[in-house]
Symmetry: C2
Subunit: 388 residues, 2 copies
Amino acid sequence: MDNFEFHNHTKILFGKGQVSSLKNELPAYGNRVLLVYGSGSIKKSGLYDKVIRELKEIDATVIELAGVEPNPRLTTVNKGINLIRENQLDFILAVGGGSVIDSAKAIAAGVPYDGDVWDIITSKAKAPSNSVPIGTVLTIAGTGSEMNGNSVITDWDTNTKAFFNSNHVLPRFSILDPELTFSVPRDQTVYGSVDIMAHVFEQYFHASSNAPLQERIGEAILSTVIETAPKLVNELNNYEYREVMLLNGTLALNGLTVMGVNPDWATHLIEHAVSAVHDIPHGGGIAIIAPHWMEHVASVRPEKVAQLGVRVFGLDKAGKTDAELAAETIQSLREFWKSIGAPTKLSDYGIDDKEIELMTERAMLAEQIGNYVPLTKEDVRKILRNSL
Amino acid sequence: MDNFEFHNHTKILFGKGQVSSLKNELPAYGNRVLLVYGSGSIKKSGLYDKVIRELKEIDATVIELAGVEPNPRLTTVNKGINLIRENQLDFILAVGGGSVIDSAKAIAAGVPYDGDVWDIITSKAKAPSNSVPIGTVLTIAGTGSEMNGNSVITDWDTNTKAFFNSNHVLPRFSILDPELTFSVPRDQTVYGSVDIMAHVFEQYFHASSNAPLQERIGEAILSTVIETAPKLVNELNNYEYREVMLLNGTLALNGLTVMGVNPDWATHLIEHAVSAVHDIPHGGGIAIIAPHWMEHVASVRPEKVAQLGVRVFGLDKAGKTDAELAAETIQSLREFWKSIGAPTKLSDYGIDDKEIELMTERAMLAEQIGNYVPLTKEDVRKILRNSL
């Protein structure tokens, strides 16, 4: 392991009816609130009314930032920053999924920052320690944003998706009620499951040594997704499946499995480049790219792909080389994702080879990306071509 | 799952040389420090000098409470409370293992409390929210006390071991340097490994439903202990084995695997009764009692004992009943613990049947103890008799 610091102080309030904790949690931070949400599905589901009732009970002043997009935009972030400054608000309540929470984080960091918030989002400047405190009410399992300091924002003027990470924007509390995820449609539920698995992969394929416990915890999450997702996609209102998937999503990206290891993240960088050029769902893009990424990895270092197959997909290793096992692993992964209804190629989204160069360009944040098997520009181009 | 709240805000500083973080972490809490430690092995190892150098760098005033016992005593806790009150100290630095940290927690809670600290230790009163802040430098893997709010203290006047749990005594930071555990002798290393496994068992055998992820994370910890402990006990100065075991211990009891489930803890209650009457090492007592407890459990509910055997001990389940698998699981556990040198019966410590009634009495904190399979007084007596 590498030396590491772990300090995840988000308070998780998990289970049925936890929205009613809002009135207890919020007052510690003030009562002038920016309420951030997305398309308005929280109005249809009745969650909006519940949240407003809680806020009224503590006489909160509420300013709303509605309409946060699925791949959230820099323009929206700037809107939020202005709302907080103009109205002197002291807390951000993000009600929604990853994009809503990610936007809240960028807003939180941008408010006390003198320059352009894009500096922070692109990690050129650090998030200030006096970032505005955030709380979340989660409505979709997947991104893990409810218990980490990550934020991914897109500047659509330049087709650039960027991200930052800071403990200063870690949610102070997050409310995770499985019932609030009942309204997530089947396709989004699939994307969430794919994203959770991909988060584990990014950390499982690390460039460090001697992390058997972290790897096994990753395998525990993967096995549980593989057991639960097929049942869940056929029974979207099942509380037990929803609660398991919700916890899977949170633990997949809260710092637990990355303790002491240097993670990869190449797959996400490539997908971010795709969805910064074509506005497709992140989980859908991941389902397409990850197997091609894994094929490249297996051609260089097959051993951990093989381990994944044996431990998670139950492959029998007797008499097989790592390369053979790795090929079977990737086949198993493809079959699993296909079985729950994930897309398999970029053309499923109508994407052809026209923008391959732009996407390749956007993915290359450095000479090489990824850490387990570093990728050159040529590797990335090949992975994208194979994904078409 | 049951509804749950998870809020573990301990900052973990893990790895070689992390003691030098002390001077950065401490000043946030003041510089009048009660330094708590045990038998003096930290003086032999040079750790004491390192810590004192750090404290000097920030001009700390240091008062010492040395000589904390392996099964720490109420008298020691009261001594610490008086030292803090008399010297108006504002921070407790616990340098040692579980008993040192547990003592620090009881002291921390006792200082601002008007009554007898025993009220808090026996959970009759709550730990005050203004408990004195604590930091730790861990020197032995096992108890998990470095990242939880648990404390176990013994009143030797009445042979009573009691415990409490409060987030108000959760360490603010814990320094985990694997090299600091090199000096732990072989027997203590074995006890730590046993204790870690037993912590997983207490939460794995829970009285709730639908917690597949928590169970798999428990299995991940168990598998990693089983892989690492036999190598470690034969190579006590191996950094890689020590770092894995250190992380095992912390994650086994930091709230992770108990999310949303009602844990058992009967084995610990029985062992606490044994070591409150006979001053034996906790991990040694656990190694003796746990298999007999598990036999009782298997006679009532064999299915999860069977699952443990299949997933962790690699048993082949083909054609076997749960009861048969459970018997094999317990046999595997016994063999494993014996192979690393753990004791197998109370007579190994010279304990005979004379105090069976007193120990049974002390274990019965209620009409029945434990939650997965609640135990009557008769059950406990039987488990103790079988352990002789």
